[in-house]
C-alpha cells in the first residue's frame, strides 16, 4: 500500500517537474486568411528619405576591449549622405488584403563584420530564415531581444559557420546586441507580409509587388522615431512617398526606453 503511494507520488513529482521544464512552448500565430497570390497587376512604392538639419558628428567607438576587432568603427545610427538618410525602415502598416503571405524560403543575412552588424536595420517575414554570419576573426554572440518571439543567446565563434534562426510571430522592431561587444547594434522587425524595405546610402527605398489600393506606410528611424504617410498604389505603377526627418530636433540621449512604438499588422 505504501509502495503504491510512493510510486504515484514519485511519478507525480517527476511529471510536474518535467512539465515545468517544458512549459515554454513556442506558439505560432494562426494564418489570418487564404494564401495570397499575385495577380500580375501589382505596383510599387518608391521614395527617398530626406534629412534636414545638422548631422551629428561621427563618434569613434572604442573597440579596445577586443584586440581582434580590426579597423575602425564609427557609430552608424545616423548615416547621412547629401541630405539623404540611410537605415530607415519603411513598411506597409495597413491596407493589405486579409490574407496570409507565403513565407519565403531564402534567408535574410545579418553579418558581423569589423565588429559591427551589417545591415544595421533589417526586416524578415515571420518564419523566414535569418542567416547570421561571423566574418570576423573574433568570437561574437548573437542576442536578439524580442518581446514576443523566443529570445536566443548564442555564441558564434571565430571560424564558425552561419547560424540559422527563425522568428515565428510578427513583432515590432527590436534590438539585437552582441554580448561580447557591447557597442554592436542591429534592429530587426518581423512582419507577416513581405512589403518592407530599408533605405540605402542614397536614402532611397522601394517596396515592390503591392496590389493596387490605398495603404498607410510608416518610416522608422532608431534615433528620430516614426513618420507615417498615406499612399495610393495604381495598377502596375510606382507610387511616390518621400519622408523628411529633422536632425535639428534635440539629439535624444540614449535610454533603455528608446524604441518608439511601432505597430505591425
Amino acid at each position: 500500500m505504501f509502495s503504491k503511494l510512493s510510486v504515484i507520488a514519485f511519478s507525480l513529482l517527476l511529471f510536474s517537474v518535467f512539465g515545468y521544464g517544458c512549459r515554454k512552448q513556442e506558439e505560432t500565430s494562426a494564418p489570418i486568411g487564404p494564401l495570397w497570390k499575385p495577380s500580375g497587376n501589382e505596383g510599387n512604392i518608391t521614395g527617398v528619405i530626406n534629412f534636414t538639419g545638422a548631422v551629428p558628428a561621427p563618434s569613434k567607438l572604442d573597440m579596445s576591449s577586443d584586440s581582434k576587432c580590426e579597423g575602425e568603427n564609427f557609430l552608424d545610427d545616423v548615416v547621412v549622405k547629401n541630405g539623404k538618410l540611410q537605415n530607415v525602415f519603411v513598411f506597409v502598416k495597413s491596407g493589405l488584403p486579409q490574407a496570409a503571405f507565403e513565407t519565403p524560403a531564402d534567408a535574410v543575412t545579418l553579418d558581423q563584420n569589423g565588429c559591427k552588424y551589417v545591415p544595421r536595420v533589417l526586416g524578415v517575414q515571420a518564419g523566414q530564415p535569418l542567416k547570421i554570419v561571423n566574418s570576423d576573426q573574433t568570437n561574437h554572440n548573437i542576442h536578439p531581444l524580442p518581446q514576443v518571439n523566443r529570445e536566443f543567446d548564442d555564441s558564434q565563434l571565430a571560424g564558425q559557420g552561419p547560424i540559422i534562426r527563425k522568428f515565428r510571430r510578427p513583432e515590432a522592431i527590436f534590438r539585437v546586441k552582441c554580448n561580447q561587444h557591447s557597442w554592436m547594434r542591429a534592429h530587426i522587425a518581423v512582419l507577416a507580409h513581405p512589403f518592407f524595405a530599408t533605405s540605402d546610402s542614397n536614402g532611397a527605398f522601394t517596396i515592390k509587388g503591392l496590389p493596387p489600393g490605398e495603404y498607410e506606410i510608416e518610416a522608422w528611424h532608431e534615433k528620430y522615431g516614426a513618420k507615417t504617410a498615406k499612399v495610393k498604389v495604381a495598377e502596375k505603377a510606382d507610387a511616390k512617398a518621400d519622408f523628411t526627418f529633422d536632425g535639428s530636433v534635440a539629439y535624444r540621449p540614449g535610454s533603455l526606453k528608446l524604441q518608439p512604438a511601432m505597430m505591425t499588422p
Binding site: S59, D66, D77, N179, S255
Partner: protein, 272 residues
C-alpha cells in the same frame, strides 16, 4: 609492494616539491608597492607547506617501507601516546597561528589602512565599472568629482570617448559629469597611489591584475574601494576573476602605467 609504494610516495613528494621550488613556476613578476610583502608572505607559507608536505611524505614512505607484514610477527600494540600527540599538535597549532597572524599584517596594510606609510591624499581616483563583458574606467576630470549616473541611461551603443550618457549612463544634467573621462583602458601614473572604486552594472565580476597582486570582486549594488601603487611603467593585463557569464574568459582590459608627464598628457587629450 611496500618497496615500490614507498618509492612512488617519495618520488611524488620530491617531484612535487621540486616543481614548486623551480623558478619557472614562481609567482609572475609584480610591479606594485605592496607585492613585495605578499610575495614574502607566500614564500614563508610555501616553506612551511613544503616542510609539512615533505616531512609527512617522508614519514609515510618510511612507514610503508619498513613496517610491512612479516610472517608470524605481531604489530606493536601501541594505541597512542598522549605526549607525542600533544607536542605535535602544539607545534602545528603554533605554526599555523603564527602564519595567520603575520599574514594579517599585509592584509591590514592593504585593506584597512588609515595611517602611513600609505597615504591616499595624493591618489588618483578612478571608478572601475564592470559589465558583461568589458571593463570601463572613469576619471573625475578637473573638478575631481564624478557625475551622477543612472542605470536607466546606460547606452552601450555609443562608447566613444566623451559620449553621453555612454555605457556608464552619465546624466548630462549634472555639471560634475561634464569633464568625466570614460575609457576602456586604465591609465595610471607610476609611483603614485591609485584609488579605485569598483562597481558593476549587472552581475558579480572581479577586478584582477596579476602583475599587481590585486584582486577584488566588483559587486552590483556596492561600491568597493581598493588601492595600489604601480612601481614600473608598462602595459599589464586586467582579467575578470569571478564567473560572470559565457564570455568570462574574454574580459580583458589593459593597465597602462605611464610616467607622470605622459599621464597628464593623456588625461588632457582625452578630457576635452
Amino acid at each position: 609492494m611496500s618497496r615500490p609504494l614507498a618509492i612512488i610516495i617519495w618520488s611524488i613528494a620530491i617531484i612535487t616539491a621540486g616543481l614548486f621550488a623551480w623558478p619557472k613556476w614562481r609567482l609572475p613578476e609584480s610591479v606594485s608597492a605592496h607585492s613585495a610583502a605578499i610575495d614574502h608572505q607566500f614564500k614563508i607559507t610555501l616553506i612551511v607547506i613544503g616542510v609539512g608536505f615533505t616531512l609527512t611524505h617522508a614519514a609515510l614512505g618510511y612507514a610503508v617501507w619498513r613496517y610491512r607484514a612479516k610472517n608470524g610477527e605481531r604489530a606493536s600494540n601501541s594505541s597512542g601516546n598522549a605526549r607525542v600527540e600533544i607536542i605535535l599538535a602544539a607545534i602545528t597549532g603554533l605554526t599555523f597561528i603564527a602564519l595567520a597572524i603575520t599574514g594579517q599584517r599585509v592584509w591590514a596594510r592593504l585593506q584597512l589602512n588609515q595611517a602611513p606609510p600609505i597615504s591616499l591624499v595624493d591618489a588618483v581616483r578612478v571608478e572601475v565599472v564592470a559589465q558583461q563583458f568589458a571593463w570601463n574606467f572613469r576619471y573625475p576630470g578637473a573638478d575631481g568629482k564624478f557625475g551622477r549616473t543612472d542605470p536607466r541611461l546606460y547606452n552601450d551603443a555609443d562608447n566613444s570617448i566623451g559620449a553621453r550618457p555612454g555605457p556608464l549612463g552619465i546624466d548630462s544634467t549634472d555639471p560634475a559629469g561634464k569633464d568625466d573621462v570614460v575609457t576602456t583602458t586604465l591609465v595610471a601614473p607610476v609611483n603614485r597611489p591609485i584609488s579605485l572604486t569598483l562597481r558593476s552594472k549587472d552581475v558579480i565580476h572581479d577586478f584582477y591584475v596579476p602583475a599587481l597582486r590585486l584582486k577584488q570582486d566588483a559587486v552590483p549594488g556596492m561600491k568597493i574601494n581598493i588601492h595600489f601603487t604601480a612601481t614600473r611603467e608598462g602595459r599589464y593585463e586586467i582579467a575578470c576573476a569571478e564567473l560572470c557569464g559565457k564570455f568570462h574568459h574574454q574580459m580583458r582590459a589593459y593597465l597602462d602605467v605611464k610616467s607622470p608627464r605622459d599621464y597628464e598628457e593623456w588625461l588632457k587629450k582625452n578630457g576635452k
